[in-house]
């Protein structure tokens, strides 16, 4: 078969096919790197495209709103006022409130967000997609739809019933169906960064029932609206805030600040960044490997090139011949990469589907992504081939047919400094071979170091997450349980809490939504008034330094301070956006670099003075005796004033289950990718060294060197390159980690830039191991060195 096909080819193309066959080991190693690069490109780009398409289609079909605001209580009559704001297209008013859910197999109460659905109002924004079951029946009082992730995590099905505390009253609700909403693609408790679907879910109830339950007949406490084309979002928000102010509006936000949207967008942009720089690393390595292979090939085939030219083959034909070789060498890798990428991408998309709930999230590989995969791979091949092709083209026939002069070595730094006496002849051989082609050595180091860097980044995520967990769960949230109340409660509540079963210690806090202004900047945040001398909840900076709450003034998280442009000592304006809406100027007493969220803290007494209120509390942190925990939860479930119960341990467990696994999977892939790069670079480097110095090594064998000794000489060079790749890889990895921490939305999470010793060690050890294996694979070929041939022939 092959023979027949070869007959159809021109002699030069036959040579091409045979050259590739001859170089198959190196071509294979390079194709593997190509395949990984293309796979990462296809997987991430196609996943990005699929997610983006799903999101945008979802948003437009289910009419995701553009501006959102909550309000204490506003009469339905102002709906028309809102609609008349220039730039507003459609308005939806709802009743939204937090509820407590009692799940039979969960000791502590879960938290629900109850959202009203008004199908009679005509225009429905933030529409629901009913996944299973049916829509709400008009007029049915005790029916709800529940959100998909929550239903899945708790094994809830249509027809099941659910015990819920609504506005202080127990209600037994029937689940009509399981629904999804563009508002809650990422189904997460406000203020959290990782989902906890067992303990948080969305409940949709008919407007009439919700209004009745919350005393909101002919009124609403939540508004969302869409913008007319060309409308200015900021103007609309300002006017909306004006309209809602008298009714207790807490300040409107645009889509970019909408909680779920913000996460989805952040993920998309991370995907875009990773989908660009990881393939770029691989294709850079591919270009380098092809450069190595082709330079060597053109060197070996020097005389053949001269001969071909002497017989009248044009420069163009010969240049094209080597270019074709480069492209042919990788084409298999591209095809495998596309297939692998499609498989990986569908896996990634399935993983995303666990976090992001879309009605339809279909993974497809767009044709354009395939075209791009070929285009960037061929571009990398061309870059790798360019210098060899140029050399083949510029070779003059007469010159080329003479054998190449012996390799020119000259005394260098080592000799002049006299340091060379300290080293054995073998070490000097290795050092001089490296020094003779410093650029090649440098590129090899960079190539291998990229695999070190990839691993470094992978392991860094573990370090960062571990540090976050350590900060959050061992230093910040030391309470066993956090209780939040529906309404501010009198301070005596602390004693009632202390009397609950198992409660050993109670620390209360006061929290209010605020708008901070400094100069022309303003930001929304939650201001927390903390007890002096509390020890259940701490404010800790990124270096685990405890920050004390001053008696006067506020402590700002660094991210918030930066976005306001405020620094320690500056006076910022604090506008409270609930209750009597006091406004005051408060000085920034301290800034603290927190890992999560946008914290603003002050002394609770100072906050009470600012609010001109008595000693009331919004919630409390409890230290609980484990033995009585169940009893306590049972009591809390039955306490109407309690809006939510948080348990740090539960959050940590849920985190480990979901995010921990995801990071594990991606780290496994990074390890695989890094090994492929290390293998590709070291294997090719060693094969070329063997080709260049095979004769030299065979001579040494004849002179009595053992196979192991010449193996050391052959691989010593690669070992030194790999050794150098460690510090370079660490440095590149560190810079990339830094870039990643900067690229991640700081208002969601600030990954601490901490690197453990294990990250340094493993990122190198794994690469060194891959390098050793590929080196041994090449050293195995030393068995076949022809000792007799070397006596006969001249290279």
């Amino acid at each position: 078969m092959v023979k027949q096909r070869l007959k159809l080819l021109s002699p030069l193309n036959k040579k091409l096919v045979r050259d590739i066959n001859h170089l198959r080991g190196q071509v294979f190693a390079t194709a593997l790197v190509v395949a990984c690069g293309v796979a990462s490109f296809v997987a991430m780009q196609a996943t990005y495209d699929s997610l983006l398409l799903s999101r945008d289609t979802y948003y437009s079909l289910y009419r995701f709103a553009d501006v959102f605001s909550s309000v204490k209580r506003a009469p339905d009559s102002i709906r028309e006022d809102i609609r008349k704001i220039p730039g507003v297209s459609e308005v939806q008013t709802r009743v939204v409130s937090n509820v407590t859910i009692d799940l039979p197999d969960l000791p502590e109460p879960a938290q629900g967000r109850l959202v009203s659905v008004d199908r009679s109002s005509g225009s429905i924004l933030n529409g629901l997609y009913v996944q299973r079951g049916r829509e709400l029946t008009e007029g049915a009082r005790d029916e709800v739809l529940i959100s998909g992730a929550f239903a899945e995590a708790n094994g809830l099905n249509p027809g099941d019933s659910l015990n819920v505390v609504i506005n202080g009253r127990w209600r037994r609700l029937t689940i009509a169906g399981i629904a999804l909403s563009p508002e809650y693609i990422y189904e997460i408790r406000p203020g959290s960064i990782f989902p906890d679907n067992r303990r948080f879910g969305i409940l949709w109830m008919s407007r009439r029932s919700a209004a009745a339950a919350f005393d909101m007949e002919n009124a609403f406490n939540d508004v969302s609206l869409t913008l007319a084309p060309g409308a200015n979002e900021a103007d609309v928000i300002e006017k909306l805030d004006d309209v809602l102010e008298t009714y207790g509006g807490t300040g409107a936000i645009g889509r970019t600040d909408q909680y779920s949207h913000r996460f989805v967008s952040n993920e998309l942009s991370e995907l875009e960044v990773f989908g660009t720089f990881i393939p770029a690393i691989f294709l850079g390595v591919v270009a380098f490997l092809l450069h190595l292979i082709l330079s060597r090939l053109v060197g070996i085939e020097r005389e053949q090139i001269g001969l071909l030219k002497a017989f009248g083959y044009s420069n163009r034909t010969i240049g094209l011949h080597y270019l074709k070789l480069a492209v042919l060498a990788i084409v298999g890798g591209v095809i495998i990469g596309i297939a692998l990428g499609a498989w990986l991408g569908s896996g990634m998309t399935a993983l995303y589907a666990d976090f992001f709930r879309f009605p339809i999230l279909e993974f497809t590989v767009p044709f354009s992504v395939i075209v791009w995969a070929f285009a960037i791979s061929f571009a990398a091949a061309a870059v790798g081939a360019v210098s060899s092709v140029r050399r083949a083209v510029t070779t003059r026939p007469a010159e080329a047919m003479r054998p190449e002069p012996p390799a020119d070595f000259q005394a260098g730094f080592l000799e002049r400094s006299g340091l060379n006496k300290m080293f054995s002849a073998e070490v000097r051989m290795i050092a001089r071979n490296l020094a003779r082609h410093p650029l090649k050595a440098l590129l090899s180091i960079v190539g291998i170091s990229l695999s070190v860097a990839l691993l470094f980044i992978g392991f860094y995520f573990y370090d960062a997450i571990n540090r976050l967990i350590e900060i959050q769960f061992n230093r910040v949230q030391l309470e066993d349980v956090e209780v939040t109340f529906n309404e501010p409660m009198p301070s005596e509540t602390r004693y009632e809490l202390l009397n609950l079963p198992g409660v050993n210690r109670v620390e209360t806090y006061r929290a209010v939504p605020v708008k901070l202004r400094f100069g022309s900047h303003s930001r929304r945040a939650g201001l927390v008034g903390m007890e002096q001398g509390g020890r259940l909840r701490n404010i800790v900076d990124k270096n685990l330094r405890d920050v004390r709450i001053p008696n006067e003034g506020i402590v700002l998280s660094t991210t918030l301070a930066e976005s306001l442009g405020a620094a320690e000592g500056d006076e910022v304006t604090v506008e409270v956006t609930e209750g009597s809406r006091p406004v005051a100027k408060v000085s920034v007493a301290d800034t603290v670099e927190e890992a999560i969220g946008l914290g603003v803290y002050m002394d609770s007494d100072a906050l009470h003075r600012l609010l001109k209120e008595s000693d009331v509390v919004s919630g409390a942190y409890l230290e609980v005796d484990d033995k009585y925990a169940e009893e306590l939860y049972e009591t809390l479930k039955n306490t109407p004033a309690v809006a939510g119960v948080g348990r740090p341990q539960a959050a940590l467990d849920s985190f480990n289950e979901t995010v921990g696994q995801t990071i594990g999977t991606s780290t496994a892939f990074l390890i695989g990718f890094a090994c492929v790069i290390a293998f590709g670079v070291v294997y090719n480097g060693a094969r070329i060294a063997l080709s260049e110095r095979g004769r030299e090594l065979a001579s040494l064998r004849v002179l009595g060197f053992t196979r192991r000794e010449i193996g050391v000489i052959l691989l010593g060079e690669q070992a030194i390159l790999t050794g150098w790749a460690a510090p370079v890889g660490w440095a590149i990895g560190f810079v990339l980690c830094f870039a990643i921490t900067r690229a991640i939305d700081a208002e969601i999470i600030r990954l601490p830039l901490v690197i453990s010793t294990a990250t340094f060690v493993y990122s190198f050890l794994i690469v060194a191991f891959a390098a050793l294996l590929s080196g041994l694979l090449v050293a195995w070929r030393l068995r076949n060195l022809d000792l007799i041939e070397v006596l006969k022939t001249r290279e």
Binding site: F409, A425, E426, E696, F705, T706, I788, L791
Partner: protein, 250 residues
């Protein structure tokens, strides 16, 4: 230089030559596709201590095959080779490597120096692994390159490179020095200088030396001339009167 006054040759002259290497019934058959090529047929050969033997034969006569086998680079299809009391034909690769390392010095037609090492270092590379080597600089002085110790191969002429190769081969004080067409890549004048060096090493160090060549003229400097043709030893003659390399011409 008294120490190097040919005790071996004396023994030879007393009629009791000591054979360093003995080959008996050596045959080598290469299978080239469907054809069997008989490179050696039933060859018996002795190399005596301290002698300078020239193996003379045309290209394809089997002389290189013979040298490769007695040098421990190749194994015969049948027959035995004995080095002192070691039977080389029974040795494995490790033992053959050791044999080459400790007892044999090779000089190749194309020098085969390591381009990344200077003349001195090329010699040191071998003396480092040798049991009882001479001083590398001494070895280079012996071949007349005492002033070019720190030159790299690319900075040396062909003849100079070949002399470095000889220095490298003799520096370990081998029992046998095997030279495969040592002048093959050199011009007449340079070739003669290289032969002078080989003759000097043989004479002064008393190293048993075998020189392979197709050049009839070189045979005049040998103690014995072994003619090979079609895989057989055609004749063995002792030179009554050895010529010095300077007297040779071709």
């Amino acid at each position: 230089m008294d120490a190097i006054t040919d005790p071996a040759r004396t023994t030879e002259k007393t009629g009791n030559p000591v054979a360093v290497l003995q080959a008996r019934g050596l045959s080598k058959v290469y299978h080239m596709g469907e054809v069997d090529v008989h490179a050696l047929r039933e060859v018996d050969l002795d190399l005596f201590e301290g002698e300078l033997a020239v193996l003379l034969g045309a290209s394809g006569s089997g002389k290189s095959t013979l040298l490769n086998i007695i040098g421990g680079l190749d194994t015969p299809t049948s027959g035995t080779v004995t080095f002192r009391d070691h039977i080389l034909t029974e040795a494995d690769d490790v033992a053959l490597t050791e044999y080459r390392r400790d007892h044999v010095g090779f000089v190749f037609q194309f020098y085969n120096l390591i381009p990344s090492l200077t003349a001195l270092e090329n010699v040191q590379l071998i003396t480092e692994i040798a049991v009882d080597p001479m001083d590398p600089a001494e070895a280079l002085k012996l071949v007349g390159l005492g002033d070019r110790l720190h030159h790299f191969p690319a900075q040396l002429s062909g003849g100079e490179q070949q002399r470095v190769a000889i220095a490298r081969a003799v520096a370990k004080q081998p029992d046998v020095l095997l030279c495969d067409e040592p002048t093959g890549a050199l011009d007449y004048k340079t070739g003669k200088i290289v032969l002078e060096v080989i003759e000097r090493v043989n004479r002064e160090l008393n190293t048993t030396t075998a020189v392979i060549t197709h050049n009839e003229a070189i045979s005049r400097m040998a103690d014995r001339v072994i003619r090979i043709g079609s895989g057989r030893i055609v004749s063995i003659e002792a030179n009554e009167e050895k010529a010095s390399p300077g007297e040779l011409s071709w």
